[in-house]
């Protein structure tokens, strides 16, 4: 797999055409986005500014602004229809935002193609799993990694290079089996993904996303329909990966899960960020309680 070539410079006030040495430590926010610049100790791989998305008459996202810190597990909560999934879609290029900017490691990625964004290391899963039904589970997982030699027709076909393609496929297959074992999908490896249960599809979705070797993962309700034991195990895994430097933004309706696992929580309501902060603060915010945590009381 190719080395992570995502720039290590977070927000540089350096002109685009100047080469940045790789070992420069991430700086804090730069000056032209001062209005949102907060004094953050850690770098911010993902930043969303005034994001807006309308569907016909509905404004699904209405000026959402937030940032996700490096190595954090940030929760994104909000009532149904608050615009969480649409926000993910706009960040990852699935939808084109009507207004607002998305920055990934200091570079603006608004309007970029989804595959370019994935190549940068920003990967998402879908709320409604997008399994590739007529491909086996193993194929689904082996599809994901970037930098596959055999994605070139000539290299796959020509006798001289086919050998290398096959060798890489063999490595990939091994890695795929390991991943499937972890997600307890190994007994279904040769099954068509279209035959999986709802929960299994969510697991496959997550397994596939991890196979792309991301640095920031946006997870849209990854645990919906997953059994509690496996959910625990996946959360453990997420914490492990965080220690290795991965960053997570997690959409989830299970408040206990969010409050126990996230160090930072963003609350969306009607397309806007209602509040954000550590779980204790969110728990005690009247407005949030009103909007989400059992408002009508």
């Amino acid at each position: 797999m190719s080395e992570d070539d995502a720039p290590s410079v977070a927000d540089a006030d350096i002109p685009d055409d100047v080469d940045v040495p790789e070992d420069v430590e991430p700086e804090t926010m730069d000056s032209d986005v001062e209005e949102s610049a907060k004094t953050v100790p850690r770098s911010v791989p993902l930043r969303v500014e005034g994001l807006r998305k309308e569907f016909g008459g509905i404004t699904a996202v209405d000026g959402a602004t937030f940032a996700v810190e490096e190595g954090s597990l940030t929760g994104l909560i909000g009532p149904n229809g608050a615009g969480k999934s649409t926000t993910f879609n706009c960040i990852t290029g699935v939808h084109e935002a009507d207004a607002g900017d998305v920055y990934f490691r200091g570079e603006e990625i608004s309007g970029e193609q989804p595959h370019d964004i994935v190549e940068r290391g920003l990967v998402r899963t879908f709320q409604i799993a997008r399994q590739l039904g007529e491909m086996t589970v193993l194929e689904n997982v082996m599809l994901a990694p970037g930098g596959q030699q055999g994605e070139s027709i000539t290299r796959s076909v020509l006798p001289g290079t086919r050998g290398r393609v096959v060798a890489q496929e063999r490595e990939l297959r091994e890695k795929a089996w390991e991943t499937l074992e972890f997600f307890e999908l190994d007994h279904l490896a040769t099954e068509y993904a279209g035959n999986l249960s709802g929960g299994q599809r969510k697991l496959l979705e997550l397994a596939r996303a991890l196979m792309t070797d991301p640095s920031v993962l946006l997870l849209d309700e990854p645990f919906a329909g997953v059994n509690p034991t496996l959910e625990e195990k996946l959360l453990d895994r997420i914490h492990d990966l965080r220690e290795q430097g991965l960053t997570f933004l997690l959409v989830e309706h299970d408040m206990d899960l969010i409050m126990q696992n996230c160090e930072h929580v963003i609350v969306m309501h009607q397309g806007r960020v209602l509040d954000e902060g550590p779980p204790e603060r969110i728990k005690n915010n009247e407005e949030v309680i009103e909007a989400y945590l059992g408002g009508e009381v």
Partner: protein, 444 residues
């Protein structure tokens, strides 16, 4: 392995038949046997028999090539190209323009055949790209509309009197390039009856011992050449399909957004698949129509109905499977084009059906009095048109009963290595901790 061990006797047989090469071989041999039986029944001699088997083999092979080309576009990537005939026309016409003798009408450039063939493939690829690049960005329906339109535009352009100096207009090419077989075996390749070269001498005199004419030898060897082209195209696409490339194409077919969200530049993959398919359609057009026993480069040759035949053949064989494409092409070509006339001759000979009603009414009325002969005669006389109705019925039944084709191979795995259950590495997986460690490595 999914095979059960219960019936040990059948297991080896099944394993052989699970091999794609075996399936194709069995299909071709079956076709040869059936047509040999037809010919035998009708009392064909050696040369008649050879020409019958040769004809059906040729058609099966050229169909195989185009169906394979369509399979990479539609079967793998889900790209709906209904302009197959147009891309075949571009290939055949380009070769005709580049490599036909300058003395012919319309005159060709007389370039060596390999240059012509390469030019034809490239031209078909380019036309495919120009047509498809804008449409590939849009939804699948637009590609279908654009391709069917471009195919007709191509045909009408070739038909147009305005370009008849180059294309021959409505009459097409009078003199086509000579095939490599003719060049090798004949001193004057343009005339089938000419003196043989020294190589030709040997071959022809050998064939003559079996009563096979010079003409039949040339056509038979050309057909063998087409089978070789089919083999090469098959191996090429089989490798392209069973690789990460093919895997991405299948992912695009299933869910393009999912493929994009896993970092695949789907547009790029689609363009390459489309270009490859169009180039191979050009090649098919060349070996089918620009030379050999069916050589005919005229606008009528490339009417849109060929496109639909190719689709039917692909659906019969199973979209998404290269082996299925070859089988579908062979089955379709033999069933639709070569078998009906044979069957008619056999029935007429066996049952002496002499009734010859003028229309369907005249054929149906005698049924009331228990006389089926007029209907039989009517059906036989009209077998040429009726076979299309039969094909239509077959297609409807297939789509309802076996939407994945005869082999049901739309779900063939796309990988450079086998992905069966026994490929699992035997790592410790008993406890979750071990799995977590193993899994942890996957993200480094």
């Amino acid at each position: 392995m999914s095979q059960t061990t219960t019936d040990d006797v059948l297991a080896p047989l099944r394993r052989v038949f699970a091999n794609d090469a075996a399936k194709v071989a069995v299909m071709y041999i079956a076709i040869w046997v059936v047509f040999y039986a037809f010919g035998n029944h009708l009392g064909y001699g050696n040369s008649g028999m050879l020409s019958l088997v040769r004809r059906v083999t040729f058609l099966a092979a050229v169909y195989g090539i185009v169906v394979l080309a369509l399979n990479i576009q539609w079967g793998y990537a889900g790209l709906f190209n209904i302009g197959v005939a147009g891309f075949m026309a571009v290939g055949a016409y380009t070769v005709a323009m580049l490599s036909s003798p300058p003395a012919g009408s319309p005159p060709g450039l007389g370039l060596p055949l390999p240059i012509g063939v390469l030019g034809g493939i490239l031209a078909a690829t380019l036309v495919g790209l120009v047509a498809a690049l804008p449409a590939l960005r849009l939804k699948a329906d637009y590609l279908a509309i654009v391709t069917v339109a471009i195919s007709e535009i191509i045909r009408i352009t070739y038909n147009s009197p305005a370009f008849s100096d180059v294309t021959g207009g409505a009459r097409g090419f009078g003199n086509l390039p000579t095939s490599p077989v003719e060049t090798l075996l004949l001193q004057d390749p343009t005339s089938p009856a000419s003196e043989a070269t020294s190589l030709g001498e040997t071959v022809f005199s050998f064939a003559a011992e079996y009563g096979i004419s010079q003409f039949a030898v040339v056509n038979t060897l050309y057909t063998v050449g087409v089978l070789l082209v089919l083999l090469v195209v098959y191996l090429l696409l089989e490798r392209a399909g069973k690789s990460p490339y093919g895997r991405v194409l299948k992912a695009i077919r299933e869910d393009e957004t999912a493929a994009q969200s896993l970092g695949k530049d789907t547009q790029n993959f689609k363009v390459r698949a489309f270009a490859l398919g169009c180039g191979l359609m050009g090649l098919a057009g060349i070996v089918w129509f620009a030379m050999g026993p069916r050589a005919s480069v005229t606008p009528q040759t490339f009417r849109p109905n060929i496109t639909f035949y190719i689709f039917i053949a692909l659906i019969i064989g199973g979209a998404g499977s290269n082996t299925g494409s070859v089988l579908g092409g062979a089955l379709f070509a033999s069933l639709l084009f070569e078998a009906p006339p044979m069957i008619r001759s056999i029935i007429q000979e066996t049952f002496q059906v002499s009734a010859n009603p003028g229309n369907l009414i005249e054929a149906l009325i005698p049924i009331a009095s228990g006389n089926l002969a007029p209907l039989g005669g009517f059906l036989l006389n009209n077998i040429d048109s009726l076979r299309f109705i039969g094909m239509g019925i077959l297609l409807v039944v297939l789509i309802q009963r076996k939407p994945d084709g005869l082999l049901g191979a739309r779900k063939e795995t796309a990988a450079g290595v086998p992905l069966t259950a026994d490929t699992r590495p035997d790592t410790g997986r008993a406890d979750a901790d071990a799995a977590a460690v193993d899994g942890g490595e996957t993200d480094e």
